[in-house]
């Protein structure tokens, strides 16, 4: 057979193509491998699940979490019923954290910016290590930054910064310095006390949205359930915004922003004037006030004019909380005005008047915990600390900044120009499992592990009244680049600094080995040796011991007027001016941590039911006067910038106040978060409480401008037509100007009429619905009617 050159080449080409097809169709090599894992493959048994007890340290509340693993994959998260902090309760966003781990935008490669003006591009682990080593060598001026935490991770961060003669700072987006400062003045401790809501008869809270997201919502949510399950208790809440906590209260007071302390002092005034509590408590409370009395002008009549809260309601609360076990606390926006510390201090001092300190159903002091291998911060750095720190960065005095667990660029207001400051730092190293604005402004981006992949130990803040150390353990293998998995932040620091001996796992184990030594065979785990003790800790998700509680010492009351700062809102009395008070609030997206999690994005807000957008809550009457309708595009402008939102007129907002959620408006994130909504944190003005340096994040004034257009607001509310839950019982329709009780009576009357009509015409009630609900329903109804 003669083959010419052309035919030979053609045949060769076809054979090569055939070989490629053959190879492509063959069984992949990995299919022919069956692996014996190192440890017992409990997670890999098909159809059989394993549950692991761990904790989610992101929120600092140290909640106990149970994770369901099936075939090595995370399937579900729920609260650990054994854990003393949340007792089986879970934050509304807990389940959504699964998508922090399994996310299409998860970083799989380290990134490197080779020059300050260059772009971030993928690099290898080896090259990343080389650059990190150079940037963190001895002699470099280093700053380590993390989210607020008291953990082994925090301790390692602190030790690493110290080893380089650097600083370690923590950043809390919605700064709570005033809360910590006020509590320190009163209780002489940095530990946030335990609020024994579960055993109280009366609860009075100010500003803190503790049922949805304040400090330790799972803990407080569980306690609230306990409060309501007994004699139901009495719960009053004071906040300009109608939050989920306001909605859960028996009496909601909506004061002008910044005037909360006046309400507290007025309540105290009523209690003292009418001698509603024993005289000894009154004397103790007034002891440090100038001339032993509350200043003139705090009677309910005067306070009504200044706060917008009716004097009857102030008196009602004073009478209610004077009887039984009462607890009063403040936080959130109440602590975030320019007079935040004064507000907070005065409100907490009410507990002295009510005799609630150190008692069941009152404010119980938590023990101060100082443990080896656990560090970080009980009290995050104040905004003032941060202003000073960023000035150092901007001046080029810092060589390397290492950032973990916090998106500084997203969270800081425009006025701080954090982006500009980071440009003047020689090397910025950021750790994260997904891109965010800070990672995008860094020079080295490290693909970080999630809390499902890492060992850790954490002391919850606040504690449940006694010693608790939560355990975090890896529940799945590391995702990430190649076989190496994601890069662990703590292991990276440990590799860089040999003087901190041990691996992350061994350091965590050491924490619990120490607990074993100190436990004296008491507490949540009792074991004969430290390995058995650690096994117990892993099974229960931590160690806690009721016998390690705090002495309930006397408070050190001071003259509260020492802490008075000017309330920047006080001059706007009419509340109908051109300027509005802006109060940001966080919901399921937190401070943007969960903004690239679709499960969190689609979760309807607790009050407005809006999702996927940034809306502005405006008083419904004020909106009507201004001709603003739902979905109208609104621009809010402050001295720090401008954002776009969609209007949501709502009756539960104090006139003159606008409320905007945090979490949206990420410039650089993932596919679910980028270019969606607006970032309200950017337009907060940099005001502080001069007394403490705390960020007065609820003290920004904005002007409102209508853009002229309108968009449909994505919300769940009103999308489903109301239908009768019980067949034959009409839906309760409350007409304008009608109370719910009146509507109920009217409807009941109609219902009764319909029953009478049926009986008089011999129509069986169940016959009408037999087609819809089947015979079982019919039988049930007949039984019920008997």
């Amino acid at each position: 057979m003669k083959i010419n050159r052309r035919e030979f080449l053609s045949l060769s080409g076809k054979s090569a193509a055939g070989a490629v097809i053959f190879a492509a169709c063959s069984i992949p090599e990995k299919e022919l491998v069956v692996q014996s894992p190192v440890d017992m493959p409990e997670d890999l048994v098909r159809g059989i699940d394993s549950w692991y007890a761990t904790s989610w340290g992101e929120g600092a509340s140290g909640d106990g979490v149970l994770v369901r693993i099936l075939e090595g994959r995370i399937k579900k998260l729920k609260g650990n019923p054994d854990h003393p902090v949340n007792r089986g309760g879970a934050r509304t966003n807990l389940d959504r954290a699964i998508q922090l781990h399994y996310n299409p935008d998860r970083l799989h490669n380290p990134k490197l910016r080779r020059s300050k003006d260059g772009i971030l591009s993928n690099t290898t682990i080896n090259e990343m290590d080389k650059f990190i080593k150079e940037a963190t060598s001895k002699g470099k001026k280093i700053v380590v930054v993390s989210n607020p935490t008291r953990s082994t991770e925090g301790w390692i961060s602190q030790k690493f910064a110290e080893s380089r003669g650097g600083r370690y700072l923590t950043f809390d987006t919605l700064d709570q310095t005033n809360l910590h400062e006020a509590l320190y003045e009163l209780f002489d401790t940095n530990e946030i006390p335990h609020f024994d809501i579960a055993h109280a008869d009366n609860v009075l809270s100010f500003g803190a949205d503790w049922i949805e997201n304040w400090i330790s919502p799972a803990q407080y949510g569980h306690a609230f359930g306990e409060l309501r399950s007994g004699n139901r208790g009495f719960f009053a809440h004071v906040e300009p915004r109608f939050s989920l906590t306001s909605a859960s209260s028996d009496l909601w007071l909506s004061p002008y922003p910044g005037t909360e302390s006046e309400i507290a002092l007025s309540i105290a005034n009523v209690i003292i004037d009418e001698k509603l509590v024993p005289e000894a408590q009154i004397n103790e409370f007034l002891n440090k006030f100038p001339e032993g009395k509350i200043q003139f002008g705090y009677n309910p009549e005067d306070v009504e004019k200044r706060t917008g809260v009716s004097q009857e309601k102030i008196k009602e609360i004073a009478h209610k909380i004077s009887k039984g076990k009462s607890i009063v606390f403040a936080g959130g926006s109440t602590s975030a005005y320019t007079n935040g510390k004064f507000n907070t201090y005065v409100i907490f001092a009410l507990n002295v008047l009510l005799g609630s300190i150190g008692k069941t159903g009152g404010v119980i002091l938590n023990p101060e915990i100082d443990k080896e291998n656990i560090g970080g911060s009980t009290k995050p750095n104040s905004f003032k600390d941060w202003q000073e720190e960023i000035a150092q960065w901007r001046a080029g005095y810092v060589d390397t900044v290492i950032i973990k667990g916090v998106d500084l660029v997203y969270s800081m207001p425009n006025s701080l120009d954090i982006k500009g400051a980071l440009k003047n730092v020689e090397t910025v190293i950021s750790f994260g499992s997904m891109m965010n604005e800070t990672l995008n402004s860094s020079d080295i981006v490290v693909p970080d592990t999630t809390f499902f992949e890492e060992w850790g130990s954490e002391i919850p803040n606040p504690l449940p009244g006694y010693l608790t150390v939560s355990l975090q353990q890896p529940v799945v293998v590391k995702e990430g680049p190649g076989a190496t998995g994601a890069v662990s932040y703590v292991d990276t620091l440990l590799n860089l600094e040999p003087s901190i001996s041990g691996s992350n796992k061994s350091l965590v184990k050491k924490v619990f080995d120490n607990e074993y030594k100190e436990s004296n065979k008491s507490g949540s785990v009792i074991a004969d040796d430290k390995n058995s003790f650690m096994n117990g800790v892993q099974q229960r998700g931590g160690y806690w011991n009721k016998s390690f509680s705090s002495e309930q010492k006397k408070v050190r009351l001071k003259n509260p007027y020492e802490f008075v700062s000017e309330n920047s809102f006080s001059e706007t009395e009419s509340n109908y001016g051109e300027e509005f008070h802006l109060i940001p609030f966080s919901n399921v997206l937190m401070d943007g941590k969960l903004s690239n999690v679709p499960l969190a994005q689609q979760a309807p807000d607790g009050i407005t039911t809006v999702a996927w957008q940034t809306w502005v809550e405006i008083n419904i009457h004020q909106a009507e006067e201004m001709g603003i309708k739902e979905g109208d595009i609104i621009y809010l402008k402050s001295d720090s910038g401008e954002i776009k939102c969609l209007a949501y007129p709502h009756p539960g907002v104090q006139p003159g106040t606008l409320c905007v959620p945090t979490g949206q408006g990420t410039e650089k994130g993932g596919r679910y978060s980028e270019d969606r909504g607006s970032n309200v944190l950017k337009i907060l003005s940099g005001k502080t409480d001069e007394n403490t340096g705390a960020f007065a994040w609820a003290s920004t004034k904005v002007s409102l401008k209508r853009a002229g257009g309108s968009e449909k607001l994505p919300k769940f509310e009103g999308e489903v037509t109301a239908f009768p839950v019980e067949p034959g019982v009409p839906v309760l329709v409350v007409k304008p100007g009608q109370t719910a009780h009146e509507a109920e009576e009217e409807n009941h009357h109609k219902y009764q009429e319909s029953i009478n009509f049926r009986e008089s015409h011999g129509i069986s009630h169940s016959d009408d619905h037999a087609d819809d609900h089947g015979n079982n329903m019919k039988e049930n109804k007949e039984k019920n009617s008997h």
Partner: protein, 216 residues
């Protein structure tokens, strides 16, 4: 020339298709052909009865999920090491490999045994039995049926007498598909494990024969 090209391409595609779809050694080449494993594991030593020089270990001691899961699973290195840290010669090359894989090392100088779990690594065995991806075979269902219906068991080794038994232990039913593994120095495939065999057995024993029973 064109016919030759077509034939070549057709043959390559056909071979590729066979390779991918069947995913097994073809019966025409004989089943006894097998593969070398990273560590020689003699089933004869572990699973054969004591009377035949083995240890008489039950199959489920190592393949411990076979009665409760779709997959039989190969044991974890930890399980092998639980015995072989002490049992077996320290001179054996295969046991040395196994011990090192499980993080157990012997100091050359003082012969002291050191355990370093950080250095343990998985073992990648070569698969002997493989069903195509579009087949879902659940071990547990088959084991549970056969243990209660011993008359349906095939390839019963001569040493076992299960005649008239109402039920047998799980380890005595494996031979139906895998043959007498306890007598194999190196495991090899005994049965074709093709759809025809599955359907025949299902028909004989009243098992489901609808497509979705296995292809879902």
């Amino acid at each position: 020339m064109g016919g030759l090209t077509t034939l070549a391409i057709f043959s390559i595609l056909l071979a590729g298709l066979f390779n991918a779809w069947l995913g097994q050694p073809l019966p025409v080449l004989g089943f006894e052909q097998t593969v070398d494993q990273p560590i020689n594991f003699p089933h004869t030593k572990h699973a054969a009865p004591v009377s035949e020089g083995g240890l008489g270990m039950d199959c489920t001691f190592c393949h411990r999920t076979v009665t409760k899961s779709s997959s039989a699973h190969v044991p974890a290195v930890e399980l092998c090491a639980s015995c072989h840290r002490a049992v077996g010669s320290y001179e054996s090359e295969d046991l040395k490999k196994l011990r090192e894989t499980s993080g157990i090392f012997e100091n050359a100088e003082d012969k002291q045994v050191v355990v370093d779990s950080e250095r343990a690594s998985p073992i990648n065995w070569r698969r002997v039995h493989r069903l195509p991806d579009h087949v879902r075979f659940v071990h547990s269902a088959h084991i549970n049926y056969l243990t209660n219906h011993p008359s349906a068991i095939d390839n019963v080794p001569e040493r076992l007498d299960i005649e008239g038994e109402e039920s047998v232990p799980p380890s005595q039913v494996c031979s139906t598909c895998h043959g007498d593994v306890a007598s194999m120095e190196k495991v090899y495939q005994v049965e074709p494990l093709k759809m025809g065999q599955c359907v025949n057995c299902h028909r004989k024993n009243g098992g489901p024969t609808d497509c979705a029973a296995c292809h879902h």
